[in-house]
């Protein structure tokens, strides 16, 4: 997921990669840098999203060299969209592009499966996202502070079987990128059940 705040964006993701029900990587880094101040969150097929992210990273590097200025988040999102839409038949990729650029400050673009492009102040994606729509809609505020945004992102993992492990977040502002890591056993705990057996 990703959320805009006053001065930048905070993005976060879990760390589980599965092969069916087998967790092939429980400490995955799904937050991928594609330029100095532009990151993407990858969901869907790991192979597809890694490949696309590599391509966009290459294109943005060329852009920066040719234009002699860093690309905007909008440019990065547009490139992701071209790839995801034009190859929609062969891909299973849900991508969130988030970053900071001089023209628009912190911005977030969501590119769900199919290849549509949506600019949003916050967005969630991936399999676990269905379980947290209520929480996110209820608790989002515009112009949050950095700390409020970080708290907002930390809170949604235990109900989804395909999500888990730990939480990785990245805070992107004019000053650069700050990465944080929260091990699974240090996440906030809500109602965990507990049956009474008769």
């Amino acid at each position: 997921m990703a959320v805009e705040f006053q001065g930048g964006v905070v993005i976060g993701a879990d760390s589980r990669t599965t092969l069916g029900s087998y967790v092939s990587n429980r400490v995955t880094d799904k937050l991928t840098p594609i330029h100095d101040k532009i990151y993407c969150c990858r969901s869907g097929s790991a192979a597809d999203t890694q490949f696309i992210a590599d391509l966009v990273r290459y294109y943005l590097q060329m852009y920066a060299v040719q234009h002699n200025e860093p690309p905007s988040v909008q440019t990065a999102a547009a490139l992701f969209q071209e790839l995801c839409y034009q190859n929609k038949d062969h891909l299973l990729a849900g991508i969130i592009v988030a970053g900071w650029d001089k023209r628009n400050g912190g911005t977030i673009y969501s590119i769900p499966i199919g290849g549509s492009l949506h600019r949003q102040p916050f967005t969630i994606g991936g399999s676990g996202s269905s379980f947290i729509y209520g929480y996110c809609d209820a608790n989002f505020k515009k112009n949050m502070t950095q700390d409020e945004a970080v708290e907002y992102v930390k809170n949604a993992m235990s109900r989804d079987g395909s999500s888990g492990g730990c939480v990785r977040i990245a805070i992107i502002t004019e000053d650069g990128v700050e990465r944080h890591f929260f091990p699974g056993n240090q996440l906030p705990v809500f109602y965990e059940g507990g049956d009474t057996v008769f």
């Binding site: 040719q66 440019t75 999102a77 969209q81 023209r103 492009l117």
Partner: protein, 273 residues
């Protein structure tokens, strides 16, 4: 409006006589380095590219002015025949909503370059979902023109293009030459009257003017450089781009007023004599 390179170049430019071969029997030290664009001369020049620039120098003047709130383009469109419909055969064309281009030189080559620029602008929008910036379109056009200076089976374009845009960095003005070289300008002039035009442009304080001021000055400059003796009729083409407005020909009433003031100032000058 433009002349075949051979006749004009030979008669007006003695410098090139020395290094060129001639078809019609004038004496020369023919060294044959000018026959193909893929040949250098011993002093490191590519003559075909220089000859292409001559085609630009012999055509009607075109100027561009970059001012505080936009860019103004003006062209002295020489009219060969009274039978021509006014406003047909435009030398200023729109490349994208925020880009206007004026050409000088071989009109067909200018059209071809503008077509390419339109494709580049469209292609950029498709990939980046954003409009192309002035320096990028100038770069693309420059690259394209330069490609035609590499191979002997094509000729360089006999046109220069003045590219005016308004993008996120504000108003921009670039000029691409047949060699592919381009520079960014505050004001530039190409064609027959470029020397006189440049002198006039240098007198202006462009960064303090608005497009409305610039339109009047551009019209005045075109009228000043026009040589009544050599070329009889001409049509003045005026266009502008601003932050609010897309590239368009200056509205008739404003253009007419600018032309009237230009003619007046010319008459004043003549009366002083």
């Amino acid at each position: 409006e433009t002349y075949p390179i051979k006749t004009k170049a030979r008669s007006s430019y003695l410098l090139t006589l020395k290094n060129s071969t001639l078809a019609f029997g004038m004496t020369s030290i023919g060294t044959g380095y000018d026959l193909s664009v893929s040949t250098y001369s011993p002093d490191g020049r590519v003559f075909q590219v220089e000859y292409a620039a001559k085609a630009v120098d012999n055509s009607g003047t075109a100027i561009g002015l970059r001012v505080k709130d936009g860019v103004v383009l003006a062209v002295e469109k020489l009219v060969q025949s009274k039978l021509l419909v006014p406003r047909s055969n435009r030398r200023i064309q729109t490349v994208d909503t925020h880009i206007g281009v004026a050409t000088a030189g071989l009109l067909a080559d200018g059209r071809h370059i503008i077509n390419r620029a339109r494709d580049e602008a469209e292609n950029y929008r498709n990939i980046y979902k954003d409009q192309i910036s002035g320096k990028t379109i100038a770069d693309r056009v420059g690259h394209y023109a330069q490609a035609y200076t590499l191979y002997s089976n094509v000729r360089p374009f006999g046109s220069s293009a003045i590219i005016g845009t308004v993008d996120k960095d504000g108003p921009q003005l670039f000029m691409v030459e047949p060699s592919g070289v381009y520079w960014g300008y505050h004001g530039c002039a190409i064609g027959k009257g470029k020397q006189v035009a440049k002198t006039e442009i240098e007198k202006l304080k462009l960064s303090e003017m608005t497009v409305l001021d610039a339109v009047k000055e551009a019209a005045r400059i075109i009228y000043t450089v026009h040589d009544e003796a050599k070329d009889k009729e001409f049509e003045l083409e005026l266009s502008w781009i601003t932050e609010e407005n897309r590239h368009q020909f200056v509205p008739d009433d404003i253009a007419a007023e600018a032309e009237r003031l230009a003619k007046e100032s010319l008459n004043e000058e003549m009366e002083d004599d």
